[in-house]
């Protein structure tokens, strides 16, 4: 009960936040991007957190979504429909890549997915007739309307990103509490033991991968509409997308619903602030500091920020009961 009230308060607070920020300002953009990355990290968390399959190639699905809806929009198809088309393609791509990689574990899985993300980046760079190649792709301009997913200000984008975060988090929670969630965690604990007690491990991992990939692709559409212009090296980026969302989930606390949200609200504003402070003075300094903070956080809390709250709670309960 207490938890539900807390979640309710958080959602209301998040819904009010965009109203408090200057609609033409810089921070509303940071908020929209933060919410979007939180949702992406949450989608990653379905496979990365519950089954502990660390994917370093989720940019593949994200890019598929961004390109699908944008290419369809050129033919006058609403991005809302394009989003679902992208979701189907993203799910399909996740299915195809899952077949050869699902049996892999740990570092091997991370490496295979890393290579898959690179395959998609190379294809998008070469297939210029469809994607515009390295020159990038502009989202066609249309008069502001909800149906065309086009707005004058960033505030509606922030609300759509918030809605996406709530939906993806809800899906994550539903899976986590369902039989599928228990099966995934059984795989995380011990794959052989899970098989012995009758879990069809391949099938469960495949299901999780497809859901995760489809959600990731749908979020790609949100990004395309906010960014208005993108190229293969941005949406299929290893460092910018794949590693960043995995990091967000890991720093926040992998396998928990709150982890990706905590992580995103820590990492994305931090990056923005550092870019703001340093990028005009010295190229690379902001990312350098970012990497150093990352190392520090991992050494301090190898299991994520969320363990700080656990430790605090443990201390609190110790003081209450003598």
């Amino acid at each position: 009960m207490k938890q539900r009230i807390a979640v309710g308060i958080l959602i209301v607070a998040a819904a009010l936040l965009p109203l408090a920020l200057d609609p033409r300002g810089y921070w509303i953009r940071v908020l929209a991007i933060t919410l979007l990355f939180a949702a992406m990290a949450q989608a990653w968390n379905i496979v990365g957190g519950l089954a502990n399959q660390i994917s370093l190639g989720h940019a593949a699905f994200f890019g598929i979504g961004a390109y699908t809806s944008t290419v369809l929009l050129k033919f006058g198809i609403s991005p809302w429909l394009g989003m679902f088309a992208g979701g189907v393609l993203g799910g399909l791509a996740a299915f195809i890549v899952a077949i050869p990689t699902m049996r892999l574990q740990g570092h091997y899985f991370a490496l295979a997915t890393l290579a898959f993300g690179e395959v998609m980046r190379v294809i998008a760079n070469v297939w210029t007739s469809l994607t515009g190649g390295p020159g990038g792709l502009s989202v066609p301009f249309s008069a502001p309307s909800f149906w065309d997913y086009s707005f004058k200000l960033l505030r509606p984008h922030a609300y759509i990103a918030l809605a996406a975060l709530i939906v993806v988090t809800a899906i994550f929670e539903i899976i986590r509490r369902s039989a599928m969630g228990y099966r995934l965690r059984a795989i995380r604990q011990n794959q052989s033991a899970a098989e012995v007690i009758g879990v069809d491990t391949t099938r469960v991992k495949l299901q999780a991968a497809v859901i995760s990939g489809a959600l990731m692709a749908m979020l790609g559409t949100l990004y395309a509409q906010i960014a208005v212009f993108f190229d293969p090296d941005t949406v299929f980026s290893i460092a910018g997308i794949s590693i960043r969302i995995a990091l967000i989930a890991i720093i926040g606390g992998v396998g928990t619903a709150a982890g990706p949200i905590l992580g995103a609200f820590f990492i994305i504003p931090l990056e923005e602030i550092m870019n703001d402070l340093f990028s005009s003075r010295a190229a690379g300094l902001s990312q350098l500091v970012f990497g150093a903070i990352l190392i520090a956080v991992i050494l301090w809390r190898p299991r994520g920020f969320i363990t700080v709250f656990d430790a605090l709670r443990a201390r609190a309960s110790r003081t209450v009961t003598p």
């Binding site: 502990n52 490496l111 295979a112 990312q287 990497g291």
Partner: protein, 286 residues
């Protein structure tokens, strides 16, 4: 004839790939850590060699031991201060600690050296020897010879020296090695420093035919992993076979596909090998 030429070029380039990847496989074999920052030490090696060429007039190939030494020192500190702390942490923490190191090194070199491309000029850069109808590029040949020499020294070190044997014992069973009086923490430092040193060495010897900039390591990341996985993670002999194989695959695919698709072939081979034979082509023996 272009087919034979491509195989020859592939073997020469592949020899270097083997040396830069041995470091990766060595670190994994001894500690079970996949170092995602390994390719950044290639960048470090290249920068050291470039500065040695620019300010001391040293040929990059002769500067290779210097590159090795600098990377060895950095690796010693990185292992002792950072990686040693997460040896028993979950795999995610291990992966992302090395990713953090990657970010720091890449952006540190951007900060220090700027984003411009740097290359060296040497007397032999464009010369080649003819072997019947085939041509052997001199910079390729020199890089290959240096890699071969380095590989032989490493082989001797691992087989015959006390440190090499102690390191292999640590890889096999750290607890038993400790009981035999081996300082395993020291062995980990040595393995990591040696591993990144070898990669930096490889970076120096290829400098005559490539350019160096802060993001250059990123171009070799997937390539190095392909080499190592082809040969079996943790297997030094496997990395040699994998390196030569990757060199030849890359060289042959450039006969058939446009240059932009060269890496695509490599990535697809990589994913297929992982899927079909994750223990590597050579097998599981270390």
């Amino acid at each position: 004839m272009s087919f034979l030429q491509a195989i020859l070029d592939g073997l020469l380039i592949g020899g270097v790939y083997a040396v830069i990847s041995i470091g990766l496989t060595l670190v994994y074999g001894v500690m079970g850590i996949v170092n995602f920052a390994q390719a950044e030490f290639l960048t470090i090696g290249m920068f050291v060699a470039w500065f040695a060429w620019a300010f001391l007039g040293l040929d990059p190939v002769l500067a290779a031991p210097l590159s090795f030494a600098v990377a060895f020192a950095i690796g010693w500190v990185v292992q002792g201060q950072l990686i040693a702390r997460i040896l028993s942490a979950p795999a995610v923490a291990q992966i992302f600690l090395t990713v953090g190191i990657l970010i720091v090194i890449e952006n540190g070199s951007l900060l220090l050296f700027g984003s411009q491309f740097r290359s060296v000029t040497t007397s032999y850069q464009t010369s080649s020897l003819s072997l019947g109808p085939l041509f052997i590029s001199v910079p390729y040949l020199i890089a290959f010879a240096m890699s071969l020499a380095c590989g032989i020294v490493l082989w001797w070190f691992m087989r015959a020296s006390w440190f090499g044997r102690a390191m292999r014992a640590t890889a096999q069973n750290p607890a038993a090695a400790r009981l035999m009086g081996i300082d395993t923490a020291l062995m980990y430092k040595l393995a990591f420093a040696l591993g990144v040193g070898l990669t930096a060495f490889g970076g120096a010897v290829i400098l005559p035919y490539v350019t160096v900039f802060p993001g250059v390591g990123g171009q070799y990341v997937v390539l190095m992993f392909t080499v190592v996985v082809l040969g079996g993670l943790g297997s030094v002999a496997g990395a040699v076979v994998g390196g030569l194989a990757v060199g030849v695959i890359q060289s042959l695919s450039s006969l058939v596909f446009p240059i932009q698709l060269q890496n695509l072939v490599l990535f697809v081979v990589f994913i297929l090998v992982l899927a079909v034979r994750p223990q590597g082509l050579v097998g599981a023996n270390r």
